[in-house]
């Protein structure tokens, strides 16, 4: 798979460790059933998958295919009805709510379709938000937030409010926020869903460069074009994995950008 070849070429960068071949996510025969009174909905019917450190996985599927449920379980927002989920070797499928919150805080970075930035709060403070829940002192919080904003190329915009930023910039702030606690994996749920095509590619460029630095990324998308930027694609249907294969003809966002007309600036 693609992960190994990236790791061999990429130097270690602060905050993101790279250990080749290490299994980051190990999901074993996960089921998820929602009890809706009379009927039961089987959202996941036995999903098993391993994701190694440094991978860039695109998860695709029609709505109702179970991909969102799978993402929620990966993100420790939800627990499987049965099966095991090991995150960095530790079983997190049976943990208490507070322990899950801790894992979301330390090990997982979320990027959403709707950005979900706090209004009238500067980019820097938005980026700092996760550190508020993780006993980090003020100076360190500040330092980490600046570092994260730098990684997404927004070091010039730290004092801007979300309303003063473009959609792409807002999503970059959201990515910086996801990176600030140096997570093991980045979960991006339709991160380009609200963006125009050029901005989408810009966001994908950032994700690709972060992946090049060794960050493990799991991306949910229904756009085939976007999935082409990943290294591996998993397709869900009816609560099961239908296909799981490396991305052939992988697109480089930096190259695609050159072919697109400039809309902004």
């Amino acid at each position: 798979m693609g992960a190994q070849q990236a790791n061999s070429t990429v130097p270690e960068v602060s905050g993101i460790e790279t250990k080749p071949s290490e299994i980051m996510i190990q999901v074993e025969d996960i089921h998820k059933t929602y009890d809706l009174g009379e009927t039961q909905v089987h959202a996941l019917r036995g999903v098993s998958v391993d994701i190694r450190r440094g991978e860039f996985v695109a998860i695709m599927g029609a709505s109702g295919s179970g991909k969102s449920t799978f993402m929620n379980i990966l993100g420790c927002l939800d627990k499987p009805s049965s099966g095991r989920y090991l995150l960095e070797g530790a079983d997190v499928s049976k943990l208490e709510k507070n322990e899950l919150a801790r894992i979301r805080n330390r090990q997982i970075g979320f990027v959403f379709q709707g950005f979900n930035l706090l209004a009238r709060t500067t980019a820097l403070e938005n980026t700092e938000l996760p550190t508020l829940y993780s006993r980090v002192d003020k100076a360190e919080r500040h330092r980490r937030a600046l570092e994260a904003l730098k990684m997404v190329g927004l070091e010039e915009r730290t004092e801007h409010f979300p309303s003063q930023l473009s959609g792409g910039q807002q999503q970059r702030v959201a990515i910086a926020r996801a990176l600030v606690n140096r997570p093991s994996i980045l979960l991006a749920d339709e991160p380009t869903g609200n963006l125009d095509s050029r901005t989408s590619v810009e966001v994908m460029e950032i994700l690709q460069s972060l992946n090049d630095l060794g960050l493990t990324i799991v991306l949910v998308t229904h756009e085939h074009d976007i999935a082409q930027f990943a290294r591996r694609s998993i397709i869900f249907r009816d609560g099961k994995i239908r296909r799981d294969e490396p991305v052939t003809d992988r697109a480089r966002a930096a190259d695609v950008l050159k072919t697109l007309p400039l809309l902004e600036d």
């Binding site: 993100g75 927002l77 709510k97 919150a101 979900n116 209004a119 709060t121 508020l132 006993r135």
Partner: protein, 406 residues
Amino acid sequence: MDLASTLRMAFRALARNKTRSTLTMLGVIIGVGAVIAMMGIGQGADQAVQRQIANLGSNMLFVSSGSMNLGGLRLGWGATKTLVREDVVAMLKECPAVVTAAPGTQTSAQVVYENDNWGTRITGSTPEYFEIRTWDFQSGSSFSEDDVTTAANVAVIGETVRKNLFATTEPVGKTIRIGNLPFKVVGVLVAKGQSPAMSEDQDDTIIVPLTTLQKKITGQPWLRFVMVSAKSRSGSYAAQQQIQALLRDRHRIRPEQEDDFTLRNLADMADLASEASKVMTALLASIAGVSLLVGGIGIMNIMLVSVKERTREIGLRMAIGATEGDVQRQFLTEAVVMSLVGGAVGIASGVGASFVIASTAGWPILVSGTAVAGAAGVAIAIGIFFGYYPAQKAARLDPIEALRYE
């Protein structure tokens, strides 16, 4: 999350909706302000009454002749002739709770000095009278024990009499006429003002030796009243019982008969007045308390709206690692900050209102520390009580649902 960050976050959230936060706090401000002002007014009024009662004399009991029952016809003040000076002597000897006693009688007369004349109350008593009533002299001094023995023509005048007869002249040493008799003025009393119990001008009086009044003016050998001073406030109750027993015995009153005198205890009056003002204070404070309650409900209302509006924010915070406790604390802090800031402003305005009311009414300014501390405590309690349910509601949200909320 640490306290500083939680607080900063709460202030930030409240600042985002300034008008709404201010209006919500207004409920608490009015409630707390009203409670403090009402307590201040109640206590100020109480103190004013107590001060007036204390002004009558210290730990004083007032024995007056009268309350005689003549075959169904009941006669009041001064109607009997049984109270005499010997009773006072016996009181001092036999009633251990009694410290001093001043016998007295009273009449009205026209008083003349040069071209001015003035009708006033003439009281005959002994030098102890001034002591018991804690009445000081603005000039001169009391007549002496000798003056009482010799029935001397000397007089002490009150401030109202001085104003009406002397205006600018110094009265001490001058001679006035009471009826047809000349009296030398030996002292002028300081102003005492209106009496709260009898609602009369206490300064409109002339005091002469008891014997002088009895022998030279009224010709009546009995007493109208005896003023008694007890050791302490509690001692006054003992004195009351001792005097009653003594007088009943000396006046040979059979057990089934009513007293032929009336005994009033100033401590009783003070207690009564105090009781009344306490009831008034409680009434006012509870009405104000209702508005505080309404203020608290206002906080709860706004917090519920805020939780609903910020559902996505709550979902996001949970996704990035906020525990249920963190979310609950965040919203609870916002509610408490609102009630605390409201409480602080309320205390300030309540204290201000107390000052204004006290100075207009001429009462002592009373802002009790307990009322302020109590109000602050109640404000925090209100924030926690009315903030708890909305905070709980926020903490119980499912992060997945909350993130999808439109």
